[in-house]
Chain length 248, copies 6
C-alpha cells in the first residue's frame, strides 16, 4: 500500500463512512437504510409463509432479491424501467448477484417452507450500490428471519444463517489498487472488482472486469486482499447494527 | 365538528405530524422527503435546459411528474411495475394528477424553454400518498426553479410560480367528515376525496368518490371546508421548509 | 344562468341531442349505442357465471369496465394502444371511473357470484366520451342483469340495481358555467368537471380540474348544480330506452 | 351447384344481405360501415400528407391497414389486445392481408407522397370479418383519395385506383362448396378459403386452408369459381355505395 | 414449360439442392437440419407427455409450431424479436402456417394426450424458409412420434401420421411460373405462392399473393401444378431421410 | 492435479473436443460455428459502416454482442424470450459479458466509425455456452474486421485487434478443480468460475461464484491456473481456425 490520498481524503484501503439504519421501515419484517458515503440503499425483507409452487413440498425455503434505482438517484435522471416496460440488463444482473450472495449463507432447510424477498432500492447512487445493497440486505434478512421465528414459522433453534455476508468494490486506478470506489473513482478504474465475502472470510463471489487494460495475477491478488479486509470492516458494522436485537 | 377522537388521538380536523426534509438528495436540483405521519414520499425535481421536441420553439417550458411506490412501501409487498412490464392504472392516474396540480401554479412562459421532471417515490405508505406527493413536490419544484435561475436558464425576475399548491385527503367515516386519512381510516371511508388547493385558497382539483353510499351536497361542502383548511396548514409547513432559502 | 347561445345553438344548461340505441349488439347480454351529439359510444355488457378467483366463495359478484377509443374516433388518428403495447394513463383512468360509477348502484350480494364486464368503445369522439360511456353502460348493465335473471343465475326477486346512474361534463368557458361540453368547448374550458349522479340525485363521483385558472367555491357550486340537473335529464333518456323491457 | 338450403335460407352461391353505410364517420377522410349479415365492420381511412421517413423523396405514397375486433364482437368476450399488451398472430395476419389487398389496386406514384391508413374495426363478428373489412375498406379508401384530390394533395387527373377490390370467404361443408360463410358454417367447414378479387376479375390473393381433410384440385376450382362470382356481386354493392359521389 | 435457365442454372421446374440432416440435435426427441440451397432451417420436435389445460381429458394430443429467424440469417441483420419485446406479424403468420400444415396429417386421437412442439429456427435464409421449415418439421415430427411410441406414451399400433406433408414456393417472374424461388427471385416475383401438399397429392394450404399485377386462373393453375410436382420431389427426400429408421 | 477420470474420460485439466467451423454463414461478414463437445454456438459478426448516434463524430467504433439460446438447445424446452416478450436476466448478463470480453482486445479508434454486432446463438447446450460463445465470437470478429479492411472502411495498417481473447469455465466438484465443465458437471459444482483470458495470458474477466460452500484463496488460485491454461489451448484452436486466412 502506498500513502496516496484520495479525493475525499481516504487512504487506499479505507471504506467511506458507513451507516446502517436498522428497522428503517415500519412495514417490512426486516429493513435497513445503509449508506456507503453518499450511496444510500433502502433494503427491505418481506417474509411470507409458504414457497413458490415449484418448491412446494420439498421442505426448503426460498430467498430472492430485487434491485432497482430511483430515477434521480444518479447525477442525471434515468427513465424508469416501469415506464420503459422492461428491466435493463444491469438491473437483472445485480438482482441475481444479491440473491446468490444471500443464499450462500442461508440454510434453506432450516428456513423451512418460507419465502423472503429482499428489495434493495437505491435512493441515492455514488458508486458501489450493489455492494451496499448486499451488505444492508444481510441486516434486513437477519431481522426478517427473527421475525419469522417470533411468529413460529421458523423453529426456535433452527440455525438459518450459518454465516454473515458483506460486499465491497475494489479497483485499480492509475495503477493503484483501492477499496470502496466512489463514482468518480469508478469511472476512472482500469479494473473493477466486486468481492462478496462471508464473516468467516470465505469468497461467495468474485467478479473482476478489465474496463481498460487486462490485468495480471499480481494485481488480482492485491484487489482480493483489499476486498477481504474491507468486508471484514463491513462485518463489524453489520454486527453493531444488529447488536440491539440481542437485548430485545 | 364533533369532538370525536381518532385511533391516533387526532381530532377530526387535524393533520398527522408533517415533516418536510428539504434538500434530502445531493443529486437532484430540488428535493424534499415529506412525511404525513407514517407516509413518506421522496420528491426530486430534475431540471434540464430545453423542452421535448413537440414543444420546441414555443417559448414555453414543461413540467411533468411521475409517481411510484417501492414494492414494500405497503403492509404487503406489491410486485414491481418494472417487473410486471407495465404501469398500473392507479400509478398513471396519480402521476397525471401531480403533474396537473403543479402546472396549475406555474407560468410556463416565465419558465422559458426548460423542463422539470418531478419524481415522487413513496418509500412508506400509510394513506394519503398522492396528497403528500403533491405537497412535497411543490417544495422540490420551488428549489429546482431557483437552481435554474442561479444557472441563468431562467430570467432573474421571472415569476415562474404565481402561487403555491398543497393537497390533502378528506373522507367520511361513520358519517363523520375527517381530515388527512391514515390507511386504516381510508379503507373504512364511505366517501373519499382529494382536494388540491393553492396558497390563495382556490381549487385546482377536487376528486370525490363514493366508496360506499353516494353522498349529498351537504356532505360534499363539509369535506371541501375541511380540505381547504388542511391545505392552509400544509401551506404553513411548506413556507417553513422553504424559509432558509431566503437567507441564502 | 345567462342567455348566452353556444356554437351549436344550445343554451348553457342544455344537453346535446341524446340517443340510446338499446340492444344494438346481437352478441352481448346487454348493449347500448349511445350518442351525446357526435360522440358515439358502443357499450356492451358481458355476463359470465362465476367470479374471479380472488372473490370466489364470498357470495358476491363482480362488475368491471374497460374503456377504449377507436384510432380514428377523433379528428386526428391516434395510434392503437394494442400496437403501442401499453394502455395509456387516460384510458386506465376512465376505465376505473366507469367501473366505480356502476358499482356504486349495484348490490353485489344480490348479483350473486356472477361477473359482468362492461366494454365502452368510443366509435366517434366529440367531447364527453367518459360521461356518455357511463350513461350508456348503465343501460347495457341493466339488460345484462335481466338476462342473468332470465337464465336463473340471479334470484327472481333480487334487487341488484338499487338506483340508476348517469354522468355529464360541465365546465367554465369565458367565465360561464356550461353543461355537456362538445370538444371545441372542452379545449377552451378554464375548469372542467365530470359529475356522476344517481337517479336519486346523490353524487357518486365529482372530478373537477382547473385547466386554466384555479376556481372558487361559488364556481364549483354552479357547476355542480348544472351537472345534477343534466344527469336528471339523462335519467329520463335512460328510462325511456329501458321502457320496452317492462313490457317483455 | 345443388339446391341445398342453408340455415339462414340462402342458396350455396348466395351472399348474406350486404349493406354499406358510406361516410358513417364524421371525423375520417373516408369511411364505411359495412355489413355482411350480422358481421359489421367500421372502416375508416385517415389521409395524411407526407410519407413515413423510409419512403421520403421517392415520389410514392403509402397505404397500410390495421384490423381489430371489439372485445364483445364475438359470442364470447375476448380480452383486449391492448390489455394483453400484444397483438395476436391472427390480428397481424389479417391487417397485413387487408393492406396487401388494397395496395394491389393502387398506383402509389399517382397517390404521390401521401399516406392513407385504413382502420377496420369489427363491431360485430359472424364470420367473414376479414373479407367484409377488405370490401368496406375499398369504399373508405376511394373517398379518402377523393378527399386528398379535393385538398390538392393529389393531382386532379391522377388515376390512383386502377381497379376496385373485394373479398369473400368460401368453404366446403359436408362436401358442398358454399359462398360467404356465417360463423356457424365457418366452424364446420372442412376447407376454408378467402378470395380477394379485383373488379376486373383477377386474383389478388387466394388463401385456402384444409381445416379438416385436405382438398383436391376439383374442389379448389369450385371454390375459386364461387369466390370470383361472389366478389363480382360485392363489386356491384361497392359501386352503388360510391354512386352518390359522382353527383357531388 | 419453357427452357429458360435461371441464375443458378436450374430449370423452371427444378428444386434447389435439398439436404435433410435427420437427428441433428442430440437433445430433441426429433430433429432435422434441412437445406433448400442456401436456406437452412433447424427443426426440432419436443415431446411432452400431457396436454395444455384447455385440452385435458379429451383424449386428444396437441401439435404446435414456432418459427423464428436468427438475426443474421439474412443478408442484412434484423433486430431480435426478443429485444424488440414483440413478435412481428410475419413470424406469427408463419408459425401458424407450420402448425396447421402438420396438424393436417396428424390424427390427434391416435397421438393421445401428448404434446409436440416443433421449433423451426432459420439459421440461414435465402428464400423459401417457411416451406423448408414445413418440409423439415415433418421429419422431426415423425421421429418425435416414434420416440413417444418407444416410451409407450403412444400406442404401439396407433397410426398417428396418416400422410406426410411438404411445402414449396412457386412464383411468376417475368411472366414465367417457377418452382422453389431463391431470395433474388422472390423479390422480383409478380405473384408469389406457397403450396402445402400431402404425400397423397392433396392440398393442405394454398396461399397465393399478387405482389405486382393481379393474376388470372390460368396462371394460378400453372403455379399449382409446379407446386404439386415440387412437393412430390420433396416427399422423396423426406422418405430417404427417414429410411434408416426402419433398420433401427 | 490428481488423476481422477471424468464421466467422459477426460482428465481434470483437459478441454472437451473443440471444433471451429470458420465462415459457416454465407451471409455474415464473419462467422464461426464453434463446438465445445456437445455445446454448439453459431457466432456471426455483422459489420456496418457508421456508429450509433451517441458515438457519432468521436472517431471511434462500436462492438456489441447478443447471446441467445434456441428453445430446444437444452434437454428440456424453454419458452422463447420473444414469445415471453422480455429477455431474461441470464441472457442479458451473458450478452454484456461477451461484449466486454471482445472490447477488451479491440482498439476502437483503429476500428474507426464502424459498428460490429456479434450474435452468439446457442444451437445446442451442454455447459459452457458463454465461454464457447466468447471463443467463437473472437474468430467471427477477426474475419469481420478483415472484411471491413477489404472494403476500405478500416485503414490498411490499422491494428484493430491488439490481442486475442478466449474463455473457459472451471469449477470445483467433490473438492476437485476441473476444466471446461459439461452440463452434468456444472450442476454438481460447488464453485463455478468463468475466466476470460487474452492471448498474452492476461485476465479480462474473472467471475467466480460459490454455488455450494464458499471458497478460499487456495481454491481460487487453483481454478485460475486451470482457466489460464485452458484459454491458452483455446488460443491454439483459434489460431488454427484463422490460419487459412493468411493464405487468402
Amino acid at each position: 500500500m502506498t500513502d496516496i490520498t484520495r479525493a475525499d481524503g481516504r487512504s487506499v484501503d479505507q471504506l467511506r463512512p458507513i451507516t446502517i439504519e436498522r428497522g428503517w421501515s415500519s412495514q417490512a419484517e426486516g429493513s435497513a437504510l445503509i449508506s456507503f458515503g453518499n450511496t444510500k440503499v433502502l433494503c427491505t425483507a418481506s417474509f411470507t409463509n409458504g414457497v413458490p409452487r415449484w418448491l412446494t413440498g420439498k421442505g426448503k425455503g426460498w430467498i430472492t432479491a430485487e434491485y432497482a434505482m430511483l430515477p434521480r438517484a444518479t447525477n442525471e435522471r434515468n427513465d424508469r424501467e416501469s415506464v420503459k416496460g422492461k428491466i435493463g440488463g444491469r438491473t437483472h444482473e445485480i438482482s441475481r448477484l444479491i440473491g446468490r450472495a444471500l443464499r450462500a449463507v442461508v440454510d434453506t432447510k432450516a428456513l423451512g417452507e418460507n419465502t423472503i424477498v429482499i428489495d434493495c432500492d437505491v435512493l441515492q447512487a455514488d458508486g458501489g450500490t450493489r455492494t451496499a445493497a448486499i451488505t444492508g440486505a444481510y441486516v434486513a434478512l437477519a431481522d426478517a428471519i427473527e421475525w419469522g421465528r417470533g411468529k413460529r414459522f421458523i423453529g426456535q433453534k433452527a440455525q438459518v444463517l450459518f454465516d454473515s455476508v458483506a460486499a465491497v468494490s475494489v479497483g485499480i486506478i492509475d495503477g493503484e489498487p483501492m477499496l470502496d470506489l466512489a463514482y468518480v473513482e469508478d469511472v476512472r478504474a482500469e479494473t473493477d472488482m466486486n468481492v462478496v465475502v462471508t464473516g468467516r472470510g470465505l469468497f461467495v463471489e468474485v467478479q473482476g472486469t478489465a474496463e481498460g487494460a487486462p490485468f495480471d495475477k499480481r494485481e488480482l491478488d492485491a484487489l482480493l486482499e483489499l476486498g477481504v479486509n474491507g468486508c471484514a470492516d463491513l462485518r463489524t458494522h453489520q454486527l453493531a447494527a444488529l447488536q440491539p436485537a440481542e437485548g430485545e
